[in-house]
């Protein structure tokens, strides 16, 4: 067996028991009593700020009161009415910058009501029950194509199916869920939750899922539009940005999203290789997730190298603390200059930076870090879709996801707005409402 000091890239740096402990639930579920105590802290605010802060507008005070009075299943219904992926959102939402940041008890005491964990308590209770909670309206005879089985596509498909439309989801990858399945950090979605949630969601009926169907490869927009009454694109961001540093092609240099996707799809983590010295380039949620998980896999040292001031990191303070608490070092004001090594990465040369008026400039001073694994986490980008108007590198939309092409809607990461699961759900849902209105002449 290898250990954290084993040179190069190696698997089994930690034993199976340690790995399973490391990748356990980040926020374990609340017991019924803990939930009652946590729920009691909610003030049931008037026109509550947390609702406004939630991209899907869940009636948070109401669902918390339903937990407090003994019916988490009723609470779940309140959640699902607005957000059918409320289970996943409860696990992955950066609540510290959303609902919990807006909680008046955050203002009062610096300790918000634990909305995320309460939401999980409610949704877990409902999902533990047999069956799907919603009934489908009678068939309308309308057919809608949804491209991409990520949060945006799934939310859109569910709402449309509920209204009685027949939905076909075309998904390029072998498994549904999008980044829920391939991207979210393992310890946020344990026990195969992403897949279980998709199964549960499909329980509504009226949705068929076709895997290995890729728009632009074996499907065209024209075909889709010809065969369906409406089309929704929820294709996320398939491309990754390039590093632009010398030696970017050396062995050991990988995209953080690929590293994470492999990790998410590996059943036996002792088989997953990781470097001894890992450097992650970037400063967002992906960088943090990749760094933390590399550390948890047994890397000896892991450094996040970020080009601006630490305050400017897109990852929230909470995420940064999570990383440092796991032993990840955050270096700010450094940018990659060259990947060193002979075919295989052995180190990285970083240059210190200063930021003036938002512009990053190198100071000329450099430093070298040993690095046998370098993970690029400098952003994903849209793989362009022909024939659509674009806005800032994404698909331009107006209102509830209407693209420049009639009959074609889009939402989620592939459209402008924050790249978050909950935002994708909101956009998918709202597009579905608009599609429904268009198809039934109610709009």
């Amino acid at each position: 067996m290898a250990n954290p000091q084993t040179p190069g890239i190696a698997s089994a740096r930690l034993d199976a028991a340690t790995l399973s402990e490391n990748f356990a639930d980040l926020h374990p579920p609340l017991s019924a009593h803990e939930a009652a105590v946590a729920a009691d802290r909610c003030y049931f605010c008037h026109d509550a700020p947390c609702i406004t802060a939630c991209p899907t507008d869940i009636d948070i005070p109401l669902f918390i009161r339903q937990i407090a009075t003994g019916f988490p299943e009723a609470a779940a219904r309140t959640i699902f009415d607005q957000n059918i992926l409320g289970g996943m959102c409860a696990r992955v939402c950066p609540t510290e910058t959303l609902c919990e940041e807006a909680c008046v008890r955050e203002a009062a005491e610096g300790k918000p009501v634990e909305i995320g964990r309460l939401q999980r308590h409610a949704t877990d209770a409902a999902m533990a029950r047999q069956g799907h909670p919603y009934a489908r309206a009678p068939e309308t005879g309308k057919r809608v194509a949804v491209v991409g089985a990520g949060p945006a596509g799934l939310a859109c498909a569910h709402r449309l199916a509920m209204y009685g439309h027949a939905v076909t989801i075309y998904e390029a990858r072998p498994r549904p869920g999008g980044l829920n399945e391939y991207g979210i950090a393992s310890y946020k979605s344990v026990d195969n939750f992403a897949a279980r949630e998709v199964d549960w969601l499909l329980g509504i009926g009226g949705i068929s899922l076709e895997h290995g169907r890729s728009l632009g490869t074996d499907l065209s927009l024209e075909e889709l539009r010809a065969d369906h009454d409406a089309v929704f694109l929820g294709i996320g961001l398939g491309g990754v940005n390039a590093l632009g540093a010398a030696g970017d092609d050396r062995d050991g240099v990988t995209d953080a999203v690929t590293f994470i996707a492999d990790l998410r799809q590996t059943r036996d983590l002792t088989t997953l290789p990781v470097g001894r010295h890992v450097v992650v380039i970037g400063g967002g949620m992906t960088a943090v997730d990749a760094a933390v998980q590399a550390k948890l896999l047994g890397a000896q040292d892991v450094t996040i190298a970020y080009r601006r001031d630490q305050d400017a990191m897109p990852a929230s303070r909470y995420e940064q603390d999570l990383a440092t608490a796991r032993g990840v070092r955050i270096l700010s004001n450094v940018m990659p200059k060259a990947i060193l090594g002979n075919g295989t990465a052995a180190g990285i040369e970083l240059e210190y930076t200063t930021v003036t008026d938002g512009r990053v400039t190198g100071t000329g001073e450099t430093l070298h870090l040993p690095a046998d694994m370098i993970l690029r986490a400098i952003g994903q980008r849209l793989v362009p879709v022909d024939g659509l108007e674009m806005a800032g590198g994404k698909i331009a939309v107006t209102g509830p996801g209407r693209t420049s092409v009639p009959g074609l809607w889009a939402g989620g990461d592939c459209t402008p707005g924050e790249d978050l699961t909950v935002v994708a759900v909101a956009e998918g849902r709202d597009a579905a409402e608009d599609i429904h209105a268009a198809l039934t002449g109610a709009g």
Partner: protein, 434 residues
Amino acid sequence: MADLTTTFLGISSPNPFWLASAPPTDKEYNVRRAFEAGWGGVVWKTLGESGPPIVNVNGPRYGVVHGADRRVLALNNIELITDRPLEVNLEEMARVKADWPDRALIASIMVPCDEASWKAILPRVAETGCDGIELNFGCPHGMSERGMGSAVGQVPEYIEMVTRWCKTYYDKPVIVKLTPNITDIRYPARAAKNGGADAVSLINTVSSITSVNLDTLSPEPSIDGKGSHGGLCGPAVKPIALNMVAEIARDPETRGLPISGIGGVTTWRDAAEFMVLGAGNVQVCTAAMTYGFKVVQEMITGLAMWMDEKGYRATSDFIGQAVPNVTDWQYLNLNYVTKARIDQDACIKCGRCYAACEDTSHQAIWMHEGRVFEVNDAECVACNLCVDVCPVENCITMERLPAGSVDPRTGKVVSDDYANWTQHPNNPASQAAE
């Protein structure tokens, strides 16, 4: 540190905290440990007649009202008086009193409502050397169906009669323990006084059903699928008890009658509230049953610190000091005009004041852009609801309008003259007087 020594009916105890007659005072073992923990006195668990002791149920005897986090807000019980033989209790009492001469020991008694029964038990109780007796006219369940407890306490004539027997056959202080399960507490208190009682103690438990099990449809506590009403005690009953104590303290017919305050005393603060309203000491049951005997230590230090802060040297300095401030509604000053004021720096923007006022009061709070809440003086009737529902202490306060200013709600100039309902022009009685 202030001296907590309190003399009640001539009985001195190192502090005013007595344990009420109940499970905490059921036997020698408990009472010794209570004294070791610092309790100033105990009222022994109620004694019954000699002969076969009464029996309790063998299923659960307590129900509960929980707050969040299972904080005990109230207990309810269907326990009866002591289920141990009279002789055993008397022997134990004598031993404990001999070993703890500086602590108060009171015998609580409940025997049938005939003179012979009282005449029989009183000399035996006297032999123990205890400092006085308390007549249990309060227990609302079980014993009352046998013509004792609250069956006596609800009939003032019986109270007077039994009290008189006790004063005849017993020469130490007699305390009459009152039941709250009656419409006007002043009547039984007057009866006790007329019978010669040295003091009243109140309240005993409030008749109650704490909860119903919605699966079995049985009241709790459930005994084989059935429940019986019990007696409620603990923090939830304190407001009821405070009012009853104050009513007796300010009733011209009972004014000056010593009172032992009981009902929901949980902290030093509760005790102080009972005492300023006229109680000469307090008795505690539920707090001890919830937290153990050690709670008295907080009561002792808390009360002493409060006394130091206020400059009271002895408990007699503050006992009854709030009684003159308890009055009838008709004497409240109608010229005391206040308006709610919201401290914008303290406000956490929950909007509870707005919901409460807008939906259920006087539509006197504006919700401005950015969740800024402001009181509209032209509508505010000063009801205080916003203050009560605000989760932040002192964020909303009621501020008095200065004399000479105009109340925007009524358009009237505020006066600092005292004027009450009896003088108000809308009062038909006041007009008739003119």
